[in-house]
Symmetry: C2
Subunit: 342 residues, 2 copies
């Protein structure tokens, strides 16, 4: 059983994933398995993953070929779905059982294509799978937050080359999300406006950091980018919850995502990257209260954050929480605007 | 001029180091320069660095050979020492000039030896240089905090192979330090005890996570380790300020550091790592108040934090602030205790 341990000095929880149990020799070789025959995510190898949780499949039985997008439990999960939290103290520390869900969204049956290479219709299916899993997992009362993210490339933490994203449901609100949610709530309490709507309005008027604007979405580089070529994708109209996006909205989002990933791939030669969806936590649904009891519908704005992994996170960044970014977001936006993605 | 930019959503400052000005093609090749002839940190190549700030040299002129440890300004500094902060607003954001100091401590003239390979006497000289630079920089009223850290190996962010550490003086307290200082102050306010002294006492009594104990220092793996084989080196007796260590204390610390680095090197085959010294900020000296006006002398406990860079920081960690650690600190401590460093 994995454990969540509380650091009373850094004020955060750490997941000690003992079931992964890595010993010193396990760290000496680090490789990305690119082999086709052995890939458990490939068409025809469905028996090599745990039983599927969800799939988009025009016809045919579960756990067989003929699928477009497939969701399976992670074979080596950081957190397990069975059990109770059992939150307890240990000396000066605190510890709880590692309860959660850890799912893999296999984005395509084709081993050779990355998310940027898929058609907008195929990416729309991936987004449909994201939405379906969000909506299902938030019915579990133990989960406070859902983290939907993608690691692309070994240097971004991917251990399998076949295109996939991950969804981890956690029993407490992660620190980064907690800060963001608090900032949004306080800004709204003072001004009755969404801070993200203000920021998006400022950036659209200014233009320097805008990479590409769509009817309903905008891609930009944040003014205080921690990393070179960091990107944000925002819905222009206020919306707090990714999982309430309509089919038509997800179809347009797929076009915007393809544009973002294609420009990145063109300018930086298919760099490793991570993206993460920041969406409102499911608390309001769990409490069974209508939205007007909570202000999160008004104060929070869902979005996607993307970081290409171009620089190493060194001692200074890790030890201080300060980031040194050697490329200004204005320069990065200009390079991305000029990318040839015809 | 570099800029410090405030992120109003994540509540942190970012350093946009425009003088490094990296363009897309600069990210495509990343290498560690191991070439001896061209190494600016080598004996005889003193003319290839900026003029030295400090050196330990038995005899002879500055910027010439015959040195043991040498401190020079970083040729590509993240922050510059000249100018005013000019803290100002920009839309919803804030920005200030990138004022600070960025120095390199060259730990040995010998290109082939790492810090773990130096003798305790040689490491003592490195620690003397650290202390001297701390004491000098804290006289500058613009600097709120000093970050002394080391990147060892390309994957830990080192761009030159020759053994060196870095000292960055920053005009504001970094987020990680701010949290730690606040926790210590609050713990002391409630209990009139140092939280670190409590933790060290608990760990010494428990023993599971103790790697090695010395007369005045202890090396252990923290209970809530974010990373595999993460280490802490603490002075056992309460002391808030690394820079007030006596010569004799630094000589014993050098023995403890060599032990820590040698065990790590033996167990994990010379892994990349970062370490950082956490010491009390210089505010009290700057205000010219005697120590009894401030409680930091009582509530804070200086120490060294070390992280081997064995796993990639992936999307989940970066996006949430949650860390997944696949090796329990109890296992890591056992492996390090059993290391053959004879």
């Amino acid at each position: 059983m994995s454990e969540l341990r509380w650091d009373p000095l850094k004020l955060h929880w750490v997941i000690i994933a003992t079931e992964r149990g890595r010993r010193p020799r396990d760290f000496l070789v680090e490789e990305e398995s690119g082999e086709l025959a052995s890939c458990p995510f490939c068409y025809g190898n469905e028996g090599r993953t745990p039983q599927e949780i969800f799939a988009i499949r025009p016809s045919g039985p579960a756990n067989a070929p003929n699928w477009r997008v497939r969701v399976v439990p992670n074979k080596y999960p950081a957190l397990r779905i069975e059990g109770e939290l059992n939150n307890r103290g240990y000396g000066l520390y605190d510890v709880m059982n590692g309860i959660g869900a850890h799912e893999i969204i296999i984005e395509t049956p084709d081993h050779q294509r990355g998310l940027a290479d898929l058609t907008p219709a195929e990416i729309t299916n991936v987004l449909f799978a994201y939405r379906a899993r969000y909506l299902d997992l938030r019915r579990d009362m133990r989960f406070r937050y859902m983290v939907l993210f993608k690691n692309h490339g070994t240097r971004a933490g991917a251990t399998l080359a076949h295109a996939h994203s991950q969804l981890i449901a956690v029993p407490l609100t992660p620190p980064v999300a907690a800060t963001e949610l608090r900032v949004c709530r306080e800004f709204y309490a003072n001004k009755e406006r969404c801070i993200f709507c203000d920021l998006i309005g400022f950036e659209l008027a200014n233009g320097e950091r805008v990479v590409k604007e769509f009817a309903s979405y905008v891609i930009l580089t944040p003014y205080a980018s921690s990393f070179p070529f960091e990107l944000r994708l925002y819905p222009k109209r206020h919306a707090h919850d990714f999982a309430r996006s309509t089919d038509a909205e997800l179809a347009e989002l797929a076009v915007a995502m393809k544009e973002m990933l294609s420009r990145l791939k063109a300018v930086l030669k298919d760099p490793p990257y991570n993206f993460i969806i920041h969406s409102a936590p499911p608390l309001q649904e769990r409490l069974g209260k209508p939205d007007y009891w909570s202000s999160i519908e008004y104060d929070y704005h869902w979005h996607i954050e993307l970081v290409p992994r171009l620089t190493q996170i060194a001692g200074f960044e890790w030890g201080t929480g300060f980031y040194i970014n050697p490329t200004s977001p204005e320069d990065a936006a200009a390079f991305l605007r000029d990318a040839d993605v015809s």
